[in-house]
Structure formats: structure tokens, C-alpha cells
Symmetry: D2
Subunit: 309 residues, 4 copies
């Protein structure tokens, strides 16, 4: 078996995921390899073909990337070790010499089509939108002559020798996608003070009471949530699990205690990693929830228990 | 302008949505018309081209249908008046005479591909999966000779003169999709005792505290939630609204009071209808939350206020 | 039957309660009459012998005055219409010519004895403390020669021709007692913007869950609590009701709705009046809980219900 | 200094407290000594004059015994090691030969007077009730000829050579008082499975939010509360602390963790002991809150932290 690559990422080359890879590598040397699907990238890590995988996790317009969450949930355990945010900027790319008015068949990924629907309706209302598996793949097929144009990143256009016919065409400006780097489980990254912990919790029974109980496991320990997203478990309509990003590191006592609370009160809880926040935002522990308060409280209870501890 | 059709539905003909239309019509005469997208179907109602629209709302494997929720949220108000649940059963359909082993190019919608991934990997690992805009459209292209086979409903296969090569191939059996029938706003359907109210609530500020407050608006009035799903507002990572299905009818005092509570404490709340549950399940109001308790409580407070009321 | 007096108060003359009466009357003419016990004062109102009663309600050192709460709970309904706070300042009073060192038998009410225990132990450690039914009664018995000195208010000393041997002797300075004026039920006092509502709520079942539910009935309507005090119901150890002072007036929608919520979810709730706060402190309704927000929310729900309202 | 007695109890001899002492000793030999006040009994333990003190803690009619709670709160730390419940049964006792109709001056403790008020008003309406410091002391003064009769326990009557003129005269039958045995701090009593922990918690700031937070510290750990009683701190009207009895032992992880939570989030918390319940009632930990669940959760978190723990 050949040596594993450093990073397997959701390909093809030229997508926003490759931009995320470049941002994570930060100019260092790393071997990379595109994978055809999110699951394939994750399975490269599981099978030892890659040391890590980079995949999209959450989009400010579309929400969680289902394939990533499902890919992390199902299969042997993996954990997130880094995250990065990439601005999503769509362009119309075509072969040199093309005009906007020439476009009859416009290829792109359905998500990109959804995010540029109004622009298309206004500027090229007669163009037929053709679904492809990726924006970069759509650009490649334009280069091959199968379509007139693609909606893709500038990077993808450049890679395939295309030109930018229109730029920054998203109906809603400022869309951002959050990508994560994933590895085999191991001791978590060291605390930085601006950390995130990702979890998936399954309720014992459904209903607002059960979710309230989960939220209180964090609130009573002074841990704020950055994201809470429901996701069907696949067991039937109305059966959900909750993907959670919490503003603390497992090495902080408040986070460790919240995790034990979740473990006791959920039917299942998956730990998907503690790692530095991409935005570096420090959110200090509230009064009484910092490490010193936990230590003092623990020492006090220990002293009360005397020889019984 | 021609007379409006009774139902505009997410087409093309032969999809699970058409099965939902047939179930909702229940043998009565109704004029129907397929629309190319969920938004087009909804806009047919908004523009007066259709009296109602039937669109998918929630899937037991994939969760909420983003296009429907977004289509209801953005644009002039519409309300849900009926719901129906349809079992999702996928088949491999091909031209007469085809064998499973012959399939090289297999067309389907990406969601159908996701839900049959393991079956494909096991039975036809060499087939190339081609994304199409709908399962019924994929079947039509098989009939036209563009692909070897499609993953679609039996109904779609039959409509296009295809045969069933393999049936019930979903990786996870028992998938169900919930469809809704949507109209222009008007007085809600009469209460049946087994009713549902659909809402979208926007938080004033994010964080678990804000969501806890919303959940308590229901809990203190004795209203159970059937579904709670977060959805990005599109304003940036970490900005969510919550789509809610609640187990009560707006004509019940507990639901009316919970709605006023939401209106006061949310930054925005959309009412998307009170209507009979598809499963007919009656969930009686808990102790103290039935109509008689509300009336008695209101009379008591009125009597205390004397002439001040 | 003779004409009722304006105010029956907990006597005898010369106690802090009479000071409260003077503060409530504010220089206006009012006929007053001391009653031997709190219950006797309340029953004077119930029987039509007095138009109102003034009794102690809460003390900053001792807490609620049990006799008053019990007297309001048991018997025909009465409501609070005014409150006043009186500083409690204890003096040692004796016959003219007496010295501190002469005091052998010192009479007072047990509560006054409790609040001056350290002072007594330090200054007149050999004095024997004799329990009497009131501080003013103790002063009267000093005048009659039965005891050497009394712990009482200056007013009581003056009334009985005694002199102040030591003043302001409470172990903890700044004690305050809150007195209330009580009447037969009727429409509540007009809102002032700085109002209080007094209630007693009985739980359906005991335990922290039941109390949490009661507290949430206020929290979800944006009503702050000024006081929450448990009190045994007398039905057995561990059976409690809760005396509550809430920062709002029954004519505010948030308070009216909280009251209906309590009525629905408690086994019993007693309304003991809405009336102006003695300290005049205005606590504005939080965001979304003011009258305008309630009206807008109610109008919105009404508009949704269309003809069904 | 002489050897300490085993038990200093709230005297005089012949009160319900002495009955509690007899029940706690259960026939074993123990030296006992009556103290004039609750505080004196507690201070005997603090000063080493007694190995333990027995004092009343809570009454089913009057609620908490303020003097005991205050005596435990103020002064060097003491802890409860046992509790016992005694039925409170009042009798009218008088010198041999006396008749009910002869009673003109009736002595008793004010609490006893309050609990027999209706009986007195009905049977001896003309009797003058004289307040005394204890029911047993009142009986002694009857024997000495100072009063005609006393309301006291049968035991007190017997001790002073009096006869029972009327028995079981409480207005509300079934009153019970809970007594506690108190010692210098030390390792808590061993767990029995039916245990109680007594605490006093001071809020950082007042208001229902702060109390809700305290209640949730117990609820999220699966600890039920048996009693919750507010008590003024003496710092001013509206300033309270909360006396709490919780259904668990400090050696259970759920109780230990709830205590650390209280320590972190309260401004002060006093631990007043873990000890066997008098009624022996076992209330098993709810699902997920038993020791095994805590251990499993803690092990899981430890495994996730790997070498970081």
C-alpha cells in the first residue's frame, strides 16, 4: 500500500473546498488528492489512505451540509481538528469570446443554481440550467464544449482556461461556507481560549421537553451554543438528532461536565472534536463557570466529604 | 386570462408529488398542472393561476425540503390547508428487455441517489450515476434512450413504458415524505381535534437562551411540538430561524395565546396555517390547558378586575 | 349596629402598627381602633365593623408575618389596597429616674427580644427577659410597675409616660416592616405604573418541577417577582403554598395573562390585591411585555383567525 | 472543665423536644441537659460542653423554626447527623380537681396558642391566654399556682403532677414537628439509600431568574427537592436566602455535582449535613442520574480527552 496523502478533499480540483485546503495549509507543503464525494474523502481517512480530509460543513445560506454530517455520524469515529471559513463568490465562466447573450445551456451544481436564481432570471432568463455534480465539474464540461457556460468559482474558470463573463452574481451577497479538517480520533488539539466543540446528541424521546433538557445541560454549566441544528435520524418523520457547536473546549471543566450530563441524559452522544475557532473570537466563561471556580467548588465538596471522598 | 387550475404541483408527472396529489384529491375531479420547481408551483397560487399548490415539505431521511420552506417564507403570504404522507419507494426502471447487469449509466435525482447509495454500490457498483432534476425526468430520459436506467417511482416507470428491474431498493426502508397543499390566506380550516399549526419564528438574538424562551412559550401553554427545525436565515453563519409544527389549532386558546407570546418575544413570526394532521392522531390538551380551563381562568381574572376590565 | 370605624389595626396603641396607620392616613381625619390580634383586625373588616384593617405583612429580619398571611388565607376574601414601610427602631423604656444598671425584669414581645439579643447580652446580661403579647403592652406594664423596663418603640414609651434609657438597640440596624391596609374585595386600585400584585399559589404536586412551572408562568409573560415565600399549608411536613409579590398590576395584560396561567396550572390561587408600591419604584415591562406589544400580538392573532374568532 | 454531656436539648424538660431526644436515643444510655434557648443548645456544641444538640427544625403548621436556622447559619459551622419526627399533641393540664369551666388564666407558648385558637374560642372563650416562653414552663407555673391551667404536652403535665383536663385540642389534627441532632462538622454519616442533604443557598442577585437557576442546578443532576423555604437574610426587605432539603447524599455523584454547581453560582452556600431520612423513604435516582451512569459518563469523557486529562 502506498503512503497516505496528507489531505483528501471533496473534489474536483477548483472548487471552494480546494480554496479551503489552500487556506488550511497556509503555504506549507502538503500532498492533496480530490475525492469524488464527501463520503469518499472521509473514508480515505478511515481506510488510512489519507491523514486527514477537508469537507464543507455548513453554509450560511443552505445550512448544514447533510452529506458531511451523515458521513461523520455513520462509520467509524472521526474528529474535527481545524475549521476555516471561505467566502462563496459565484461567477459565470465560459470559453474565450463568449457573450452573456449567447448562453443557452448553463451548467452548475443545484445549490449554486439555487443561490443565483434571481440573477439568472433577470439577466439570462432563457438559459436552461443543467444540474451537475459540482461547480468545477460544470466548468470542465464547458471547456469540453458540452455546455455554453457554468456557474462556478473564478478558480475553477482559470483552471479550465475559461473567462469570467459575469462575477459576484449570488442573489444574496456575503455567503460563507465553513469547512472542517477531519482525522482519526486522538487527544484533542490544545486549548487556545477561542475554541469550539462539535457534538451530535440523540434524544431519549422527542418533544420540546427533551430538547429543553439538553439545552439546560449546557446552560447550567455556563457553556454557550454557537449552533444548534436538528437533523432527521432517518427513523421516521418527527425523529431528530441535534448537531451542536458549543463555545468551549473539552479540557475546560464546564465543557467536560456538560458532556457527562449529555452522556447521562441522551440516548446517544457523538463527540466530533474540540478545535480552534476560525474567527478566533474569545468568549470568556461567565461568572462562576471558569476553571478556577470549578476547581474551588470541587475542592470545597471534597473537603466536606472528608474521609468519604 | 384563463381559469385557474385546482392544483399546481411539483412536476413532472409521475413523481411522488403526483402520488400526493392523487391521495389529496381522493377520487374527486380536480384539474392539475405540473410546475417545473417548487417556487413555480407556489407562485402559480400567488399569481392566481392555481387555486392551490401541492409540494413536498419534509422527508424522514433528508429533513425539511429547503425549497418549500424558502418558497413559503419569501413572497406574499400563503398558508397550508392540508397535509398527506406518502411512502417513498424507489425502483430501478429500464426499457423492456434490460438486465441489471447491462446498466452503465443510471440517472436519478441526487436525493434518490443518496438514499440508495449502498444498494447501488452492492448490486451495480460499476454504474455511473448521472444527476437529473427529478426522478420522473430521469425515467423520461431512459425512455428517450439517453440513459440505460433510472431510479424512480414505479408510477414514473409505468408512465414512460419502462419495466421494473429492481424494486424497493432504498438503503433504509420505510422512508416517508410529507406533502402539503397550500392556498392564499383565509380563515383556517375548522378544528378536527387532531390538528397541526405550522410556524416560522425568528429569534431577536441568537444563543440557547433565546431558543429556550421560544420553547417555553409553548410549554407554559401546554402545547406540544411535533417538529422543530433550525434553518439559516441567510444573514450569515450562525443566524437561524426555526420552523415549528405544533400539536394544536389556532382556534384553541392555548395555541392562540402561545402565538401572541411568540409575536411579542420573537423578532418575526410567520403563521403558515392550522390544518388536520395526516395521521389523525389526537393528542388531548394536558391538564389545565384545555379550552374549559382557559375559559374558567379568563372568567376568574375578569371577575377580579370588576369594572376595570 | 354602630357605624364602622375607618381603620381597625393591630394594637395596642403605641406599636409600630400605629405608626403605619399614621403614615397611611397622612394627616387626614380617620377613625381608628386597636384590635387585640391580627385576626381580630381582619375579622372587623369581614364583619363590617371596620372599613379597613392595617396589619404587619413582612419584616426584613423575621420574614412574612404568619398570622397575617394565615388570616388572609382563611376566612372570606379580603384584598390589600395600600402598603407602607416603617423603620423598626427599638428603645429601652423605663419609669423616670431609672438606670440601665437597675433593670432586672425586662418585658417585650419575643420577636423584639430576638432582634435585640446581642445588645441585651452585652449591656444588661443579668436582666431576665419576660415575654409579653406586644411591645406596647410591655411598656404599659412597666408604667404599671410590673416590670423594670420594656423594649418598645419610642412612641409607646411616650404614650405611657416613660423615658428612653437606651435607643436604637437592634442588633442589626435598618430593620424595616411592611404593613398593608386591607378591605373587602372590589375593583382594584387604579394603576400607577409602580404597582404590586400579591398572590398565594398552591401547587398541584410538590417538588421543584411544580415550583419551576409556577415561576415560568411569570417569566414567559415578562413579570418580575419581588418576593417569593414558601409557607406550610398545614397539611403535613413538606406541603407548601407560595406567597408571591409580583411587579405588575392586574390591569396590565402581562399580569392578567400570568394570572390565568396560574389559575390553570395551580390547584388553587388566591388574589390578594393590586396596589401602589410603597417605594414608588417603577419597573418598566421588558421588551415585548408592555401593553402595546400585547395589543399588537392579540390583534395579529385575531386577524389570522379571520371569521373564526 | 467537666466532661461534655451527650445531648444538649431545647428545654425545659417535658417539651416535645425531650420526646424527640427519647426517640433518638432509642433506649440507650445518654447524658442529656436542657438548654434555655435553641442558640444555647447549639452553642453548647460549639463550646465543647455537649457532643450534640437536639432542636426543632420544621413544623407542619408553622414552617421552619427560625431560631434553629438562624442558629445554624450564624456562628461556627455545625452539621445535622440525624432527624426524627414527633407528633404534636396538645392537652389542657391543670392542678388535680380543676374543671374546664374554672379556667380563667391559661398559660402557654404563643405557637401553641395559635394552633389551638379555635378550640379555646369554642370551649373556654372567657379564658385569658398568657404567653410563656415554653409550654413546659407554663405547666410548671400552673403547678406553682401562678395560672389556672396550661396548654402543653401530656409529658409536661405528668412531670409537674398535673392532670389532663382536655386532650388533643389542636385545631388541625396531625401536626408533626421535625427535630434534628447537630454536631461539629466531620465526615458525613454513611449513605443508607434514603438520605437527605440540608443546605442554605444565597443568591447573587434577587429575582425569579436567580431562583430558577438554583432549582435547575438540582434538576439537571436528577436531584429532587424535599423542601424549599425562603428566609430573609436580614439585609433588607426583599433579600432572601433559601433553605433546601434535597433527596440525596453528598457521597452520590449527582449530589456532589449539584453542590459544586451551587458553589459556583451562588454567592454563598452552607452545607448543613447529609443524614438518613426519618421516614426511611427511598427515592431512587432517575434514569441517567444513578452512580453507574455518572461513572460511565465520566469514563467516556476521560477517554475522549486521551492524554490531556
Amino acid at each position: 500500500m502506498s503512503a497516505p496523502v496528507d489531505i483528501s478533499y471533496l473534489g474536483p480540483s477548483g472548487t471552494f473546498t480546494e480554496q479551503a485546503v489552500l487556506a488550511l495549509v497556509e503555504g506549507q507543503t502538503a500532498s492533496t488528492s480530490p475525492a469524488p464525494t464527501v463520503r469518499a474523502a472521509l473514508d480515505d481517512v478511515r481506510a488510512g489512505r489519507a491523514r486527514s480530509a477537508v469537507v464543507p460543513f455548513e453554509n450560511s445560506v443552505e445550512g448544514s451540509v447533510s452529506a458531511t454530517l451523515d458521513g461523520l455520524i455513520h462509520g467509524s469515529p472521526l474528529v474535527i481538528v481545524r475549521e476555516v471559513e471561505v467566502s462563496v463568490r459565484f461567477a459565470v465562466v465560459a470559453r474565450p469570446g463568449a457573450q452573456l447573450s449567447d448562453i443557452k445551456r448553463l451548467a452548475t451544481h443545484p445549490h449554486a443554481a439555487a443561490q443565483t436564481r434571481q440573477w439568472i432570471a433577470h439577466h439570462i432568463p432563457l438559459a436552461q440550467v443543467m444540474p451537475e455534480a459540482s461547480t468545477a465539474g460544470a466548468a470542465e464540461l464547458v471547456a469540453a464544449g458540452q455546455y455554453d457556460a457554468a456557474i462556478a468559482s473564478e478558480l475553477a474558470g482559470v483552471r479550465h482556461g475559461l473567462v469570467i463573463v459575469a462575477d459576484d452574481i449570488a442573489d444574496r451577497a456575503g455567503a460563507v461556507t465553513r469547512f472542517v479538517q477531519v482525522q482519526q480520533p486522538g487527544p484533542p488539539e490544545a486549548m487556545t481560549g477561542a475554541d469550539n466543540t462539535t457534538l451530535v446528541a440523540y434524544l431519549h424521546e422527542n418533544g420540546p421537553g427533551a430538547l429543553l433538557e439538553i439545552l439546560e445541560q449546557f446552560a447550567t454549566r455556563g457553556v454557550d451554543l454557537r449552533r444548534l441544528e436538528s437533523r432527521p435520524t432517518g427513523e421516521g418523520l418527527g425523529e431528530y438528532c441535534f448537531a451542536i457547536d458549543a463555545d468551549a473546549h473539552i479540557d475546560e471543566p464546564r465543557m467536560a461536565e456538560a458532556l457527562t450530563g449529555l452522556h447521562r441524559t441522551s440516548s446517544k452522544v457523538l463527540f466530533l472534536g474540540s478545535y480552534p475557532r476560525a474567527d478566533g473570537r474569545v468568549t470568556p466563561a461567565p461568572q462562576g463557570a471558569d476553571d478556577a471556580s470549578y476547581r474551588a467548588a470541587s475542592d470545597w465538596v471534597q473537603s466536606l466529604r472528608g474521609g468519604n471522598g
